[in-house]
Symmetry: C2
Subunit: 331 residues, 2 copies
């Protein structure tokens, strides 16, 4: 079976470009014993993938130049040589960035029965959703009546953070990069929105959170982190989920000038990776499905179609082109 | 009774100078009912006092211009109108920066019986000791075999951190500003010393901690914090106790350029104030006295004599003139 895949052609320096990717046609082997042949329906592009394009040791190994990229994907089993999978089953894998593949059944997870569309398992019910859930609840520990400030708030993670914080009885202040994103977040219950491209961020956050911030969920780093250190209340928790504003830096970029607030206000800043919270996945999915069915959590998708559009979809993450989960529809 | 006290004459801008202080002679009132008249024997100067010289809300109220400063002190009861205190008792108070005072017994704590000299209750057995103990053990959570990096390591807090980390079976790397301080720390068991004034700090810390750092106990902030973010191992804990390098900044000073390590290495940075750990004080004193008697914890003092030397002693904290606890002997 001839299929297309996207390979890392060269390591990006600074902002990635289309030139860093190449598309190739390969022959997918027939599935061996214990394997299944899967056609991908959806693949995910996520900001963390930028980190895997650097050649450095990290919590996941770097992508290799000349090889297909990897990432979350939802596919349909075409043929199976494993008793646990049958034709038509929907499966989740880390074998995105390709149209189809054969893989051992152990690398595939069958999607649970549910009324939600399968691609939601790449977003609100998948890794970004668990990231939001575990980061906010385990590290942020929001209490009723507290103020939660979220950057990158209209993204796949941020938008779920905002809604879980509302469920927990918090006041939510969201930073976004467009009026349309702000309108969407207000429509799902966010209390106040600031547009970081519009006016003085510190003044705007101060106005939106006059009593200060108890939890900061950081997706972007940089200027937002500096503002959060300024408006933090004593004992505030900073969920350090991502710093997308810094991922494409080519030179050392100065950090926040107000780090002494960490001492003076007894702040906690904690980074994490979602893999640490794998034990919460079942509980998370159960609760999230309840919230979705109760209309308490909604989501948006930004969809590109065709594997040839996958690099562009990934690049668009860094310009804020997506509202909600950025997806590529492969079939 | 005529006594001298040190007042804040003006709020420092940048590095404090002798001009920011004034000495005054006042009449101490005779003790009223329930009060005691106390002659101070020792007073403490500590870096945190710099923060109280700014006119801003914080976890302790700011010092007031024209009024006597406050701080830890050990004194001797001269006369008492309270049944719980008698002449000759040694008491701890926050009424330093003056030679004598009358105060309600409730503001005084009688020192426990022990073989250690009374001024140790301003250092290794007092607030700096508890700061080291609670910060390292509660936030740092060092495990046997881990590497602990300590900045300001020859100070009142840092030197205790180093020795508790050794008791807990860690490898200890200490940053100091002079060879003599390094020699002292080596003599009490520190494994490796770097002199931050001598050569490339990052390269020197890397050489001293080739496997990286699991716990960073931060007393100084600035360049040391940036180095620590660089050498931190995944899941390292940063005990954000102080940032003395930043306390006298007059303009915004860029922070660490490598903040993304917080996300990428799942680091935890946590600030604290020792008051949060008041419930550990009895346990701390019990353990610390055991360690002292077993020869496992030693300390140094840098002593100035006479209240007129107190401002100078305080200023010397910012030039690293002290080894161990900086004290002023008043009588």
């Amino acid at each position: 079976m001839r299929v297309r895949e996207i390979r890392l052609k060269s390591r990006p320096v600074g902002m990635p470009t289309a030139e860093n990717f190449e598309i190739a046609e390969v022959e997918t082997a027939a599935p061996g014993p214990g394997e299944a042949l899967v056609r991908n329906l959806w693949m995910s592009v996520d900001p963390y993938m930028r980190g895997r394009m650097y050649d450095r040791a990290s919590y996941v190994p770097p992508f290799q130049v000349g090889e297909a990229l990897q990432g979350g994907a939802i596919g349909e089993v075409l043929t199976s040589n494993d008793p646990g999978l049958k034709q038509g089953d929907l499966v989740e894998s880390m074998l995105g960035w390709r149209e189809a593949y054969s893989a051992p059944a152990g690398m595939l997870t069958r999607l649970p029965e549910s009324k939600v569309p399968p691609q939601a398992f790449l977003g609100v019910l998948g890794m970004p959703g668990l990231t939001a859930y575990a980061g906010l609840l385990e590290i942020g520990q929001p209490k009723e009546g507290e103020t939660v400030f979220v950057s990158g708030a209209a993204g796949a993670v941020g938008s779920v953070v905002c809604q879980i914080a509302k469920i927990k009885g918090c006041r939510v202040v969201a930073s976004v990069g467009s009026a349309a994103k702000g309108d969407w977040l207000r429509s799902v219950g966010v209390d106040a929105v600031v547009n970081y491209k519009d006016g003085d961020l510190l003044a705007n956050v101060r106005a939106a959170a006059p009593k200060g911030v108890d939890v900061y969920f950081d997706n972007v780093g940089g200027a937002h982190l500096e503002v959060a250190l300024e408006v933090a209340r004593p004992f505030a928790r900073f969920v350090e989920c991502g710093m997308i504003s810094q991922y494409n830096n080519t030179a050392a970029t100065p950090g926040p000038s107000n780090m002494t607030n960490i001492v003076g206000k007894s702040l906690k800043l904690q980074g994490f990776i979602v893999l640490q919270y794998a034990h919460l996945r079942d509980q998370f999915r159960r609760e999230m499905i309840e919230w979705i069915e109760a209309g308490k959590v909604k989501w948006e998708e930004t969809v590109e179609s065709g594997i040839e559009r996958a690099p562009g979809a990934f690049l668009n993450l860094f310009t804020g082109a997506n509202t909600g989960k950025m997806l590529v529809k492969l079939a």
